[in-house]
Symmetry: C2
Subunit: 329 residues, 2 copies
């Protein structure tokens, strides 16, 4: 059920472009482009968590701080590895003492744009998400009070928390850790992708194949779920990833209709944040596209359409955000 039919010029351009380059009008994909929203430089900021430089700096330190894990060697950046698209490129997260989790690590890039956090949406925002992995027995396995005690031992953390939360008498709190981590993550955005430049009007930012992919993406209905600035509706949809027995959203709501439902993941940086789906069962992006089409849309895509969509999704890899590896106390 195409939203728009492919413009006639597109076909002409494809068939004759090589022979008559310059003499045939370029295909016009502007109607397709209008189906997408640009990614702003910053996501929405909660009114009670100012994105001050001091708070972001503290969050940056805490994100790379392994001593808030029981072993002293696992930090947020272990699984959300900046060298690997702020994810880990393995199917299932590996945490404390090598324990293997049940779910694939999502990227934190652009995660401030999500309206639900975790694969099952059990938290609404990054502040709610931040402490989960620290305390989780198979992730950082750390008692939160002990984590705070460890931080409080360092004069430098005392100063940084005071600077980030000047209104507090005793600023090293779990809430402050969550707020600082959330703030830092809100700065990890990739608005400078070819895709986003195209959405903003730069016609040369995408190749012809990528534009055909954009058209196929819209025509086949992918935008029903993958929409908004981060290409996710932050809603939950039933999907059976190969090998998965995870009940997903059902574990949060207990609603039968949520069984095996997972949050729509962002497509921004999807080419560098595989493997795919809740259990990371699919390594290859083209296979992931085919599976999505089969299960969510009930269609089998032609091989060349899959290749076009794959090329389009590759345009969503943005310049990686600037950040510092902090010198920790």
């Amino acid at each position: 059920m195409p939203i728009f039919s492919r413009p006639a010029q597109a076909t002409a351009a494809l068939a004759f472009g090589a022979l008559f380059a310059g003499s045939v009008a370029a295909a016009d994909y502007s109607d397709y482009r209008d189906q997408f929203e640009p990614l702003p430089a910053l996501p929405p900021i909660p009114s009670d968590n100012t994105l001050s430089d001091e708070r972001v700096e503290l969050g940056n330190m805490l994100f790379f701080e392994p001593r808030i894990s029981q072993s002293g060697v696992i930090s947020c950046a272990t699984c959300h590895n900046p060298a690997l698209g702020w994810a880990d490129r393995i199917p299932l997260a590996v945490g404390h003492e090598g324990q293997v989790g049940e779910r694939n690590t999502p990227t934190v890039l652009n995660s401030g744009f999500f309206e639900a956090q975790f694969w099952d949406g059990r938290e609404d925002d990054l502040e709610g998400q931040a402490l989960g992995p620290i305390e989780d027995d198979i992730e950082m396995a750390m008692d939160l009070d002990e984590a705070l005690d460890r931080l409080a031992e360092f004069d430098e953390y005392q100063e940084k928390f005071e600077a980030a939360f000047p209104e507090k008498d005793d600023p090293i709190t779990a809430e402050a850790v969550a707020k600082a981590l959330a703030g830092f993550q809100r700065t990890l955005n990739t608005p400078n992708s070819p895709f986003n430049r195209w959405v903003k009007g730069d016609d040369d930012a995408l190749t012809e194949q990528q534009k055909r992919g954009a058209a196929a993406f819209v025509d086949n209905g992918c935008t029903a779920c993958h929409n908004g600035p981060a290409l996710t509706d932050s809603q939950f949809h039933r999907f059976e990833s190969p090998g998965s027995t995870d009940k997903g959203r059902y574990l949060v709501t207990g609603d039968e209709s949520d069984k095996f439902a997972f949050k729509t993941p962002t497509l921004l940086n999807v080419a560098v944040t595989g493997p795919y789906f809740n259990n990371g069962s699919v390594e290859d992006l083209e296979t992931a596209i085919e599976l999505m089409a089969e299960q969510q849309l009930g269609i089998e895509l032609d091989e060349d359409v899959v290749a076009d969509i794959d090329a389009f999704l590759h345009s969503m890899t943005g310049k990686q955000p600037d950040f510092e590896i902090p010198a920790l106390p």
Copy 2:
């Protein structure tokens, strides 16, 4: 047995400096300064491992590459963490599946200047050292051939190895991994410390207390072992770290005289690379100084001398080297 007696001016400056600043000549520590060697920008480079940009770039990638560990989450940078002085700030290294090793992680900063690698000196150079932790069962626990196979799966690594080792037909080899890692580490130097600037002639680079510490360091004989550009003789000396039963160098040579002997560690960046000694048993640098004096020099240092040496050692923390967190394939 002081090498030089403290210059008379020093005492005068200390006693009267506050009252007669400007009218009393500043203490002259130049004889002490001459006991130290400046740190060059680069360590010696082996004739068979060119420090080409391509090789350093590849080494940088491999240093942050967790997929050459069995779990897929441990890289060189896990224990040699750039946020923690390229070490880990815990007593004993934690590796594969949370296993705890027997020794403290040494910093890789300035390690190209060492003439022996590992606490027990079982390798002479960084090329020899590089593959050890990858294969070690309690560190990255990875079969080396499997590590090479994993790298070879990526087109980008094919290209990067070819660029770094253009003379090889099939460049993804264990030797190439070792050479690239060694090359990258040779770039991780900290010549811009206050200490090194002082050695190069900048009299204002150290505080008076730090200069007094330098004099005490020389006068008490610390330079017998802590000498050369990285403040290590790369030799082995018997030392009993609290709680340690590690036989050290003896495990390599079998010589009775090497029992409990360990390589002299560098003092560069010592203030940010604790805890101290082969088993990381001492957290506090002042305590480490006292213990060293007792065991190695057979003397008990006065509290204020310890404080002076502590201040002097803090001057050895340099501007951390520039590097990139690579975007891995």
